[in-house]
Amino acid sequence: MDPRELPDEELWLQMQDDLYDGERDAVCDAVRVALDRGHGPSTVLAEGLVAGMDIVGADFRDGVLFVPEVLLAANAMKAGMEILRPLLVETGAARIGTLVIGTVKGDIHDIGKNLVAMMMEGAGFEVINLGINNDAERFLGAVRQHRPDIIGMSALLTTTMPYMKVVIQALIDEGLRDQVFVMVGGAPVTESFARQVGADAYGRDAATAVELARGHMRQKLAS
């Protein structure tokens, strides 16, 4: 169906459905049509993309959607966001947030971390993915360069988990700790470990991590 022929209300629904189906090109078309009609980028974001990803998130949580389907939807979301992001910056509209994410030094197990990164992108976050085996210097450098709202650290090995504390200490030493919300995750990581190392939040799975990140941004933007 040609999105140009749809009245606004149906255009949003179409955008949400295309997002749900992971139809990247169709989502981008619908975003452009909405912008052409004079809708502001934050309206397109809220009415189309975010509303669509909320449905994806709920169906994923309820076991209707599978991981590969969510990744497709997240990719479509990311593509839509790439069109909107410069416009959002231009208009000074509320940002969704920026996230720096990586596995800590000594750990090359990154599938879970990549899943979180993709789901964050799916939620509209700008994600700087540092990849695997990151030392404190890499995290510090990324914080200085990208000025993220959040940094996320991941580990699969009990032997590499303690390095999260090293990174957090480095943030404190450099006077950067107050500027970022620190989230940690990974199979052996627990809520109490997160508190122990001085992190702000622990995401037990990718969907929870996204919820926590969105919660933090709501709080941050409200204050």
Partner: protein, 508 residues
């Protein structure tokens, strides 16, 4: 939420529901596991022939003794002694496999060859569930289990006396049970064996549902004849056996042996006895009606020689199962054995371990007809609701197991290897997107969430999750369609028969 996504969700729910109800037949692709060498199997076979020739088998039915005599078998008193040639000659007349009709032809089952058919537990006088504990089984329980078996895609057969409906009069109980199988399911079912008359009623009802000629071409009933081991067929079983054989309805001839009590305190000796008993009964069915479909059955476990209690899930019963299947294959007969056996009172760790300890050999032995594939607890005294659905979960997994490994080009997935760099992931490849829904078995009752999520969800164990599943299944149940004329004929026939039986003085 938007309307269109609401519609999508409905569509998905419908697709899921459709997937749930369709029965999945099971073809066992890998080679069956042979525990014994051909030489060892031959030694067991020779031992059985010696038992048949020297000690013979007792038949407590004059008419059947006359049939045996007429076919040249040496009969003295009620004992029949068979020569090796007589056994080979008559057993060879039985078909290697056959089709049993179901009311829904899509649910017809092949019994034999590389096909495996799973049927519910048979015979428990008690039921057990999380909410109500252990109690006497009623016709309402019977109906519930027929529904659960109908709803599971991993149960291929509606079974027989899934539970004994103790609230119905004994003389007409078989009618109550048969009607539930006919009306509340459309899968194949078993006939009554509690008397010759009840067997005749079963045949009459099958004729009404399927047609008298049709059931003689392909049987509509599969009925369970137990040998009262050691070496004895009783009046009741023989009365049912002859009715079914004459109507060319399928029979499962099963020596019921608890080694140590009803067989020697050794597996080899017990296997020889079982083989002798089974072959004698199978030969008799072929003398009555050559070509009658018949299954070589084994119900073999041991007692605890310290206490005398029967033991289910013992290692001896498992190795006995493999050898029994080999003996049936030696005769080119369909094989019945195994099941989700347990001595446990609850669907707990003991129940789970014991059940899979028997069910895995049942699968590897390529057992053609598996009675007691779901619901068995407490040595068969109890049918567990939660145990039933938990067993079905494992049966689903065994369906995957039985397929072996697909080694096609598509399964080798070179486009996925091509797409993913070292250290990358396969979650989003085109190959994954083509297959993610059915690439791997997805258990419903086993929890794969994180510990924190599991806590948040109420920290339920599998017993509690199964209880929810039982309720959800029974709530979702819908009657399968039936031709109203057939239903009316069946109901009318049962009402007349019930009145007839009701006028007789009760023997109990």
């Amino acid at each position: 939420m938007s309307d269109s996504s609401g519609r999508r969700r409905e569509r998905r729910a419908r697709q899921d529901a459709a997937r749930q109800v369709a029965m999945q037949p099971i073809s066992y692709r890998p080679p069956p596991f042979d525990l014994l060498s051909p030489g060892e199997i031959e030694r067991l076979h020779q031992a059985a022939l010696r038992i048949l020739g020297e000690y013979g088998i007792d038949f407590y039915d004059d008419e059947m003794l006359a049939v045996l005599r007429a076919h040249g078998i040496a009969v003295s008193g009620s004992t029949a002694r068979f020569s090796p040639a007589q056994i080979e000659q008559y057993v060879a007349l039985a078909p290697a496999q056959f089709v049993q009709r179901a009311r829904n032809p899509a649910n017809n089952v092949v019994i034999g060859g590389d096909q495996m058919v799973f049927a519910p537990v048979y015979g428990p006088p008690f039921v057990q569930d999380l909410a109500g504990g252990r109690r006497e089984a009623t016709i309402a329980d019977f109906e519930n289990f027929v529904k659960l078996a109908y709803l599971s895609p991993h149960i291929h057969h509606s079974g027989g006396t899934i539970v004994e409906p103790t609230d119905e009069p004994v003389a007409t109980r078989h009618l109550d049970m048969l009607y539930r199988h006919i009306r509340f399911s459309d899968k194949a079912f078993m006939g009554s064996v509690t008397s010759g008359e009840n067997a005749a009623d079963s045949v009459a009802l099958a004729e009404l549902v399927f047609g008298a000629a049709a059931i003689r071409e392909q049987p509509a009933l599969l009925s369970l004849i137990n040998v009262s081991s050691p070496r004895r067929y009783d009046e009741r079983m023989l009365a049912a056996l002859k009715v079914y054989a004459r109507a060319r309805q399928a029979l499962v001839i099963t020596p019921f042996i608890l080694a140590g009590a009803m067989g020697p305190a050794s597996i080899a000796g017990t296997l020889a006895q079982q083989h002798a008993e089974a072959l004698a009964g199978i030969a008799l069915t072929q003398m009555i009606e050559p070509g009658t479909p018949v299954v070589y059955g084994s119900f073999l476990t041991n007692i605890d020689l310290q206490s005398g209690a029967p033991v289910f899930g013992s290692p001896e019963s498992q190795i006995g199962l493999y050898a029994s299947a080999q003996l049936a294959r030696r005769q080119r007969l369909p094989f019945r054995g195994g099941g989700m056996f347990s001595s446990s009172k609850l669907p707990d760790a003991q129940a789970g371990y014991e059940s899979i300890m028997v069910m895995q050999p049942t699968l590897l032995a390529r057992t053609n007809f598996v009675l007691h594939a779901a619901g068995w607890l407490e040595n068969g005294l109890v049918a567990g609701y939660e145990k039933f659905v938990l067993d079905c979960e494992i049966l689903g997994m065994l369906h995957v197991w039985a397929r072996g490994i697909d080694c096609s080009d598509e399964a080798l997935a070179f486009d996925a290897h091509d797409e993913v760099p070292p250290g990358g992931h396969y979650l989003g490849t085109a190959h994954t997107l083509r297959h993610f829904r059915d690439a791997f078995y997805r258990a419903e009752l086993f929890d794969y969430t994180s510990a924190e999520q599991w806590q948040l969800n109420g920290a339920q164990d599998s017993f509690a999750r199964a209880a929810h599943k039982v309720r959800a299944l029974l709530d979702s149940y819908q009657l399968p369609p039936i031709d109203p004329a057939i239903d009316a004929a069946v109901c009318g026939w049962i009402a007349r028969r019930r009145a007839e039986i009701g006028q007789r003085p009760q023997e109990f």
